[in-house]
């Protein structure tokens, strides 16, 4: 039994790689010193699993003010539409850069969902199950971490920033739990060792000695799980430099826009490039029960460069074909405008957007009626959306798990991937 890697293993691997790590997409990246555990090119090429970035519109973005414009109708609001690169797809005037990359987007205008409020909607749109069932369903990120992630990598398999999901890894367990960064992409609590590097290393070596003594007679799995997780934490601490984007930021902010959300999107790109299978970036303040238009105008000005910049950047690096980018929130917003110039929660007919990762871009799927009050054709449920996402990522959407004694599936019975969206 070989309970953990010794320094020597790392050194030899590092020597072999000659200071270069290879990403899932086959690109050679600079090795950030700490990425000592990166797999060889051949190992990665055989796995080449797809990755996913979720741009989470916290509070619920308005479909009518973004991707399902209703110009000239009483529900339409003051924003003007602009023509995107794609015939039949007009977007809001405050998304000009997104309009220019619309050939990558698959806009689903016919979301019809079931949880109208924040905590339950956030749960439902992260797990595709109702919160009230009280079954500990895992978030999308944990599922992708489990199926497309590598627990042997130096970096966490499920990373998130800003306001995101509320379900965690559920029945998949702590090995797939989310690793949270700050809103601005900075590392969170307990990520800074209090010892100097050499003292940390000496202490770690003593720990390894103690474990190897114990492991001689004690073969049960939990002991191994304990030391494996400890080694993972140490590798992460050594690979911390990946999370430092201060050098790239001065140039990158031109593309992504100078905001926390923009920084988060750059971080997401950097992490998927380094092999992290799932990154979620939350954007705040969409819950516009009052002053919807002021609020959305401000948000879109941050969203437009960040979202388009991310897609362009991924595309230029050859990563977009293996990276699915999801744009969604927990609810849409009412077509009707209330007396505080706000829009309330709406789940009858709203919009989500997919791009990359094998999704056929440049299309609109489903439609709503003239005022956006109901779905006219091709309704898509939470389960259908998740089935589509899982299918795009090469994950069986009906994979069966157990929670305690009870069988559960990744998507509810009857969920179907939307064929038209998948290549």
């Amino acid at each position: 039994m070989k309970p953990f890697c010794r320094t020597g293993d790392h050194l030899s691997r590092r020597a072999f790689l000659k200071g270069a790590a290879v990403s899932g997409g086959g690109l050679v990246l600079p090795n950030w010193g700490g990425l000592a555990h990166a797999k060889t090119a051949a190992e990665i090429a055989t796995k080449a699993k797809k990755r996913c970035i979720l741009l989470w519109m916290n509070g619920g973005a308005s479909q009518i003010d973004t991707f399902d414009m209703k110009p000239g109708r009483t529900t339409g609001g003051p924003f003007r539409p602009i023509q995107s690169k794609v015939t039949g797809l007009q977007v809001c005037e405050y998304l000009p850069k997104v309009a220019a990359v619309a050939d990558k987007l698959a806009v689903i205008r016919s979301m019809q969902t079931h949880s109208p409020d924040h905590p339950d909607g956030i749960y439902h749109m992260h797990t595709c199950y109702k919160m009230s069932e009280r079954t500990p369903h895992p978030e999308l990120g944990a599922v992708i971490a489990k199926y497309n992630g590598d627990l042997g990598s130096d970096l966490p398999t499920f990373v998130r920033m800003g306001s995101c999901g509320n379900a965690g890894s559920g029945y998949l367990g702590p090995a797939h739990e989310p690793f949270s960064l700050g809103r601005d992409g900075k590392l969170g609590s307990f990520s800074t060792p209090y010892l100097a590097d050499d003292a940390e290393k000496k202490r770690a070596d003593l720990f390894r000695f103690v474990e190897s003594e114990f492991a001689v007679d004690h073969k049960a799995e939990p002991f191994a799980s304990h030391r494996t997780a400890k080694e993972r934490a140490w590798r992460l601490l050594r690979a911390k430099a990946v999370f430092d984007i201060s050098k790239e930021w001065p140039t990158a902010k031109e593309r992504y826009g100078d905001s926390d959300f923009g920084r988060g999107c750059l971080m997401a790109r950097k992490l998927v490039e380094a092999g992290v299978p799932f990154v979620e970036v939350g954007q705040e303040n969409y819950d516009s029960h009052a002053d919807n238009f002021v609020c959305h105008k401000a948000n879109m000005q941050l969203l437009d460069p960040a979202y388009s910049g991310l897609l362009t950047d991924l595309s230029e690096r050859g990563l977009l074909k293996d990276t699915l980018v999801i744009w969604m929130g927990e609810v849409g917003r009412t077509p009707g405008i209330n007396n505080r110039a706000g829009r309330d929660h709406f789940i009858r007919a709203w919009t989500t957007v997919l791009a990359g990762g094998g999704i056929v871009g440049g299309q609109v799927y489903g439609s709503t009626d003239a005022d956006g009050k109901d779905v006219k054709e091709n309704p898509v449920s939470e389960g259908d959306l998740f089935a589509t996402i899982y299918k795009a990522l090469g994950i069986n959407h009906r994979a069966k798990h157990l929670t305690g004694v009870r069988p559960v599936w990744l998507t509810p019975e009857g969920s179907q991937p939307v064929k038209e969206l998948l290549g």
Binding site: S189, P222, R406
Partner: protein
């Protein structure tokens, strides 16, 4: 092999006896003997070689953690290891069962069973000090488990009401939890559709829900303190409208009579025609109904004749100490999930019932068995070995980790012994609250290890402070070899191996100023897997 007291012939004889008589009546054999003969028969059948008997040090740490929720001190360890008394294990068990910490620890264990980490009605149930005080008292007073459960279901004593409060306005949740915890039966599936492979139908589910549908949780506020009363209306029925997939808005459904799980309908006097439900008024408590369904359910659940009750608790307590239930998982009794040792389970249940549901008696018998006292070593990698052939491995709970860190490092002697810091704070809960996947298997997590590695909340136990373990080691003047031996006896409750002594002495001496090295040496043992689990 275990020292076989009764030899295989006797085991065979017993097996023959079992065919004709319930093991309860199999002579005057004590339960602990019966446990061992049953398990040995199982090993013989499968030609399994069990682990050897545990070393004294291994037993000592295990039984302390299981009975009082923390490890022994250095002095207690040394005293036990050097004791020549042949019956010292049995004597130690008696001592720990009489220790006030026994009641507190069992209350922690059962609090987790009854509420989990995410109870319903969280604003009311987040802080459960009054409940834990009540529960601790029940264990300290040796209240029988049947009486304890009766009170949990009734919720009439100060503190006990919180159990029902977690199901406020959710009779379906009460149905699922109460059937699962006290009857070992999974009804969750039957909420929305007939159970796919067990016999339970939606009618069974809503029949049980009928006992909870009239419960009303009343709330009173005095200053900042909210108190709750479990009251009951005199009317109200469960309306059943068919399978969830066939349900339509506006479809009301038909009333369902309360029915005891797997038994008969509740025999209930008809509600008088002119009966009127009193209008609820603020500050006025609901009067007791003339007929209480809640009380009828409590009577039925805890009755000696209840087919589920005694087996469910015997199996749960067995699993608490032996790792795996004889029916496993412990809350899934059903035809498809057969017990591994059916006669043994019957005997545990019947004898527990005959001993007035005295859990302390049952625990004493289990931990005195040879099976509980097997070593944790060997080639079996299972966390919970199927045939109980090796000691199980149990991750310490957040509560145990805090107490164990305190004991191991003499934290009290630094003058911080306020009761507040005895329970895990939110950081500990986040790192250690649920080290499981949904199926009860342990998984190490990044957040746990970043916390171990970098948190001040952990470092505070290792850093030198006047009177604590690190300080004791540094002020001592005997050779470092002796001090490392003391370190091992204190943190891991066992003598250090010569290789370990040599390595630690080398580590500590590698720095002219040993303060930092000793702190790190203590830290290493505190975060080792030997420390992290009860094994």
């Amino acid at each position: 092999m275990l020292p076989v007291r009764r030899l295989t012939v006797a085991t065979g004889l017993l097996a023959a006896l079992l065919c004709v008589a319930s093991p309860v009546h199999a002579g005057d054999e004590s339960l602990r003997q019966l446990i061992d003969s049953e398990l040995k028969a199982g090993w013989a059948k499968k030609t399994i070689t069990p682990a050897p008997k545990s070393a004294d040090s291994e037993f000592l740490r295990r039984v302390y953690l299981d009975l009082v929720g923390t490890i022994p001190t250095h002095d207690e360890t040394v005293a036990f290891l050097s004791d020549k008394e042949p019956k010292k294990r049995e004597l130690l068990i008696d001592k720990l069962l009489a220790d006030p910490r026994f009641a507190r620890h069992q209350a922690n264990v059962w609090d987790l069973v009854l509420f989990g980490r995410h109870p319903g009605n969280i604003d009311a149930t987040r802080k459960r000090d009054s409940f834990k005080t009540w529960l601790t008292k029940q264990f300290a007073d040796g209240v029988g488990y049947d009486k304890l459960v009766r009170e949990l279901l009734q919720g009439e004593q100060v503190g006990s009401e919180l159990f029902q409060v977690q199901f406020r306005n959710q009779p379906e949740e009460a149905t699922i939890a109460i059937s699962r915890i006290f009857l070992g039966t999974q009804l969750g599936c039957a909420k929305c559709h007939d159970h796919p492979y067990d016999k339970w139908t939606q009618k069974d589910f809503y029949g049980m829900a009928g006992f909870f549908v009239r419960i009303v949780i009343e709330e009173a506020t005095a200053g900042n303190v909210k108190t709750y009363t479990v009251a009951e209306k005199a009317s109200g029925e469960v309306l059943f409208s068919g399978a969830a997939k066939d349900q339509k808005p506006g479809k009301k459904g038909d009333p369902v009579k309360p029915r005891f799980l797997g038994g008969s309908d509740l025999d209930e006097p008809p509600t008088p025609k002119d009966a009127k439900e009193p209008t609820p008024k603020a500050g006025v408590k609901l009067p007791k109904p003339p007929f209480s369904r809640k009380q009828k359910l409590a009577d039925w659940v805890t009755a000696t004749e209840n087919p589920f009750f005694a087996k469910a608790v015997a199996n749960r307590v067995w699993a608490q100490f032996m790792g795996r239930g004889i029916v496993h998982p412990v809350d899934d009794f059903q035809a498809e999930n057969k017990p591994s040792h059916p006669e043994l389970l019957n005997a545990l249940a019947e004898r527990l019932s005959a001993n007035k549901f005295d859990l302390k008696w049952l625990i004493r018998e289990i931990v005195n068995s040879e099976a509980y006292q097997l070593a944790g070593t060997g080639s079996v990698t299972d966390t919970l070995p199927k045939h109980f052939e090796r000691a199980r491995v149990r991750p310490l709970t957040a509560e145990e980790i805090v107490l164990t860190l305190r004991t191991a490092t003499s934290y009290e002697s630094t003058g911080k012994s306020d009761d507040q810091s005895m329970s895990p704070n939110e950081y500990f809960m986040r790192a250690f609250g649920e080290p499981m996947n949904g199926m009860g298997d342990f998984q190490g997590s990044l957040s746990e290890h970043l916390f171990w590695n970098n948190a001040e909340q952990i470092r505070v136990f290792a850093r030198r402070k006047k009177g604590n373990l690190t300080d004791q080691l540094l002020v001592a003047t005997d050779p470092w070899e002796k001090r490392v031996e003391r370190l091992y006896l204190t943190v891991l409750n066992r003598p250090a191996k010569p290789t370990e002594v040599a390595k630690f002495v080398e580590f500590i001496k590698s720095d002219a100023k040993p303060d930092a090295r000793v702190e790190d040496a203590v830290w290493v043992l505190l975060t080792s897997s030997e420390f992290r689990f009860n094994h």
